[in-house]
């Protein structure tokens, strides 16, 4: 996985940011806020109110506005300040705006690209009409490229038999790894997306692109336990740093 700042990266499971909520996270050490308005649209912004620097992830969502916890300044979905409660009659100058990043939701994941770009992320084929079932997000104390490499190695040995798509290259990055999984004769696609948090910290967001109810419950728990073991193995050094990984079942 190349770790180019100018690429699309998943920063949350879709289910991790329900309507009306905001969460703080990091991408390449930059603080970002991932929030969803009450109409269901996700937004990813710099996690900093331009007024006094407060992290907006501590703020609150009112309809399609994100409000800062410190002074209640409200920002619309275009990032512009719409309301300053201390001066109810004042129309805020257009220059007051939060730095926004391009946001795209797909595969049960929220993707972000720093700055504002025209293109949307290239995604694995065959995902139309699938139901995306969240497994979990894990944080691992290792660089993103190692997490992507180790997850791909693990996916081949532990989750299945055939990684149909192999490692899927996503735009300039290779942050999404999708593969077909077969369990007890039922096929589904496992999607793992790697988020570079900092030099030695990354996250893996795991979803199953399923065929109905078959992968809820026990399969979710199975995948969840397996990537926990992956994290523990990487952090303790008990997994090989390169090459194949023996099944972690």
């Amino acid at each position: 996985m190349s770790t180019d700042r100018r690429g699309w990266y998943a920063v949350s499971l879709s289910s991790g940011v329900p309507p009306g909520t905001a969460n703080g996270t990091h991408l390449f050490d930059e603080e970002i806020v991932v929030w969803r308005d009450t109409n269901g649209a996700p937004h990813v912004w710099a996690d900093r109110c331009p007024h006094r620097g407060m992290r907006l992830s501590f703020g609150f969502v009112r309809s399609d506005h994100l409000a800062c916890l410190y002074h209640g300044w409200q920002y619309g979905s275009d990032g512009r300040c719409l309301h300053i409660p201390a001066h109810p009659g004042l129309r805020p100058p257009e220059s007051i705006a939060v730095w926004r990043h391009s946001t795209h939701e797909a595969l049960g994941l929220v993707f972000v690209h720093f700055g504002e770009v025209e293109e949307t992320p290239a995604l694995p084929a065959g995902m139309v009409g699938r139901e995306f079932i969240p497994v979990r997000s894990i944080h691992v104390a290792c660089p993103a490229d190692r997490l992507a490499d180790r997850f791909a190695a693990l996916a081949i040995t532990s989750f299945d038999r055939r990684l149909e798509g192999g490692i899927f290259a996503l735009a300039a990055t290779q942050s999404v790894i999708a593969g077909a999984v077969e369990k007890d004769g039922i096929g589904e696609t496992l999607v793992g997306a790697v988020q570079p948090i900092g030099a030695n910290r990354s996250a893996l967001h795991l979803v199953v692109a399923g065929n109905g109810i078959s992968c809820r419950g026990a399969p979710q728990r199975h995948f969840s336990r397996t990537i926990e073991r992956l994290r523990d193995g990487i952090e303790s050094g008990s997994l090989p740093m390169t090459g194949p990984i023996a099944p972690l079942h």
Binding site: R48, H51, G53, F58, H71, P85, A86, H87, L90, I96
Partner: protein, 291 residues
């Protein structure tokens, strides 16, 4: 931590400990990046010494006792510790509220103390309410003759202005910044309309982005028990700490375009300008860039 070389910061008096907490056992703390030790010697005198880089007890620092606290300096202050005439009035209760450690620049804490616009959000239904979040016009100035920053004519609607308040009132405030890390407010007293409660915040800058705040109040309030008054003030400071530790950068930017103020922030604008005129670097974003 590294002791600062910022002359403006060094040449100030700082509150470093509650006198009631200082005993014969040495208490280690930091001031401007310098580790210091505070203790009482056999005859009861308070001593402050620097701790040398090898861990040995080094040079003695001057000690003053004011307002129930020990004060010291690592430099040569041109001015005495601030005067608070109200503190000597016989019917006032002095309430020390305990030290609060905050992982932020002490300057951010002073600025937050000057700020009324956050009351409805950070101290919701106590010091402010979303029903009336307006900051009405007030006056802010650098008073050259005393070299202090003042904000006067401040008014704010408060649902529960103090431990003694029983309902919402429009409260009158005046603010006074006596030195870069020392700030006071004078607030309508709910039990004596013609006088003000005085609430002081003595900030001990331990490092650029770490400090201890020592809040003390001089109140005209004969009803509320001491514990209730302290609890009220501690609740307020703990609510503020959530904000202060999550402002970015942690250090205070003095460059006017780094953050966007509005009319409610004229006291903060005056404070930042005054700090810049003094050439203060410790705890500022500009100072960190120079390092």
């Amino acid at each position: 931590m590294i002791r600062t070389t910022d002359r403006t910061a060094l040449d100030q008096w700082y509150c470093i400990d509650d006198l009631d907490d200082i005993g014969s056992a040495p208490r280690r703390t930091h001031l401007l990046g310098q580790e210091i030790v505070v203790r009482r010697d056999a005859d009861g005198a308070v001593r402050v010494n620097e701790i040398a880089t090898d861990g040995s007890v080094g040079a003695a620092s001057p000690v003053e006792k004011r307002y129930g606290y020990a004060w010291t300096t690592l430099g040569a202050p041109a001015r005495d510790i601030l005067a608070i005439p109200e503190s000597h009035e016989p019917d006032r209760k002095s309430v020390k509220c305990g030290a609060v450690t905050v992982h932020a620049s002490g300057l951010r804490i002073v600025e937050n103390f000057l700020d009324m616009a956050h009351f409805p959000y950070v101290h919701a239904e106590i010091l402010g309410s979303e029903r009336d979040p307006e900051v009405r016009h007030y006056h802010a100035e650098i008073r050259r003759e005393v070299d202090e920053v003042w904000a006067t004519g401040c008014k704010f609607f408060q649902p529960q202005a103090s431990a003694a308040a029983t309902g919402g009132v429009m409260v009158d405030y005046a603010y006074r910044v006596a030195s870069p890390f020392v700030v006071l407010l004078y607030k309508t007293c709910v039990v004596a309309a013609d006088r003000s409660d005085v609430i002081c915040l003595f900030v001990q800058p331990m490092d650029e982005d770490l400090c201890r705040a020592h809040p003390v109040m001089f109140l005209i309030d004969d009803a509320a028990p001491q514990a209730t008054l302290i609890q009220f003030q501690q609740l307020i400071f703990l609510q503020d700490r959530i904000i202060l530790e999550n402002q970015r950068p942690r250090l205070l930017p003095l460059e006017p375009r780094a953050e966007i103020p509005t009319r409610a922030d004229i006291s903060s604008v005056a404070y930042r300008r005054w700090l810049k005129e003094k050439g203060l670097l410790f705890g500022t974003a500009e100072g960190a860039r120079e390092l």
